[in-house]
């Protein structure tokens, strides 16, 4: 078991959620982080993703994010991977981390991460946003009451094919609120405090505004 300071966090996707989470983790000095993203910064990203500015447009996201985080805390341990998560690399990328963070914007990558985490027994923090709504859940963390199997993404959302087909619209405020909630859960995990999103999906609606928690169980458990 690694000590608190040596915990390694893998953030997959450095967009709206990923930039918020990375910033919080770097500033709290609680762990080392790795960033995965094969994308470049677009004009829209520069407007609503907190680590980027207009000067970063066209640069690799992982490079721009790393440079900005290093400005904030020069001693931060930040590793970067300029790749997209794929079937070929998912398992090996996940293997050396204590927790894996979902900050991607596609269902296939979410399920790849989930399945790699299930296979290797790694906690998997799911996060997603659309419009003014956000969701957070922590999967693959064992709770005694359900016996043998911890819950995972497939217990709630079945398959990537079951995802609705629409282009996600994300806004800065929901990314900041949802990303901050995810960062807090990671810090609770690192410091061994009570985790809030195990076997529960938190739904945030900034329009009403309201926060609701839905408790769920593994699909095979019938009572």
């Amino acid at each position: 078991m690694r000590s608190k300071k040596n915990k390694r966090v893998l953030i997959v996707g450095v967009g709206g959620l990923g930039t918020v989470i990375a910033r919080e983790l770097v500033l709290t000095r609680q762990c080392s982080i790795s960033l995965i993203d094969g994308d470049c910064v677009s004009r829209e990203d520069a407007y609503r993703q907190i680590l980027y500015t207009n000067a970063d447009i066209g640069k690799k996201k992982v490079d721009a994010a790393r440079a900005r985080l290093k400005e904030m805390r020069p001693t931060a341990a930040i590793e970067t991977f300029d790749v997209f998560l794929s079937k070929e690399n998912a398992s090996s990328l996940v293997s050396s981390y204590d927790i894996v963070i979902d900050a991607v914007d596609n269902a296939q990558a979410e399920f790849l991460m989930n399945d790699a985490c299930v296979e290797q027994g790694k906690p998997f923090l799911y996060g997603a946003i659309h419009g003014l709504r956000g969701q957070v859940a922590l999967f693959n963390v064992r709770r005694r009451r359900f016996g043998s199997r911890p819950t995972n993404l497939r217990d709630v959302f079945s398959t990537p094919e079951s995802y609705p087909r629409f282009t996600p619209r994300t806004t800065g405020p929901i990314a900041i609120v949802t990303g901050s909630m995810m960062a807090l859960e990671i810090l609770r995990f690192i410091s061994g405090k009570t985790l809030r999103f195990v076997d529960a999906l938190c739904e945030i609606d900034l329009e009403l505004p309201q926060i609701r928690m839905f408790r769920f169980r593994p699909r095979s458990i019938s009572t």
Binding site: D105, E110, I129, R133, P164, P168, R212, M213, F214, T223
Partner: protein, 146 residues
Amino acid sequence: MPIAVTIRDESSITGTTDTLKLTFPSSVITVEELIKRRVDREVRDRSRTRVSAQFSPVRVSAEETILNIGRPRRSAKKPLLVREKKKVSAAEPTIEERYQIALKGFYSNAFFILVGDRQVRELDERIQLAKDTDIRFIKLVPLIGG
């Protein structure tokens, strides 16, 4: 004394998608009774729609299931718990089979039920009904942005 309550359907993306009124013979019911009453109602509504659809230019889709509640609605009434088969076959599920599918759905996270702010999680859990009791059937739909 019979009591009528309004049930709301919600999904993560679209918010409230539908409402329906259900009447119960008493003011204390179990979650199982709530689900079964809802299945009864949907089966009844569905058979009524099927008969009227013969005379209507707008036919109700055969694949209207709980999984669709997050999508834009093409017709006013879609069953939440009663799954229809794509092709009408001789072996139509019995009402008892439909109950079992819906109850299994409750235990496998296909939908969630909120009574006020409280999530009910067991079939034998009791619900105290009043005219203004807020009951919601919620389908969690994954959001894809990151």
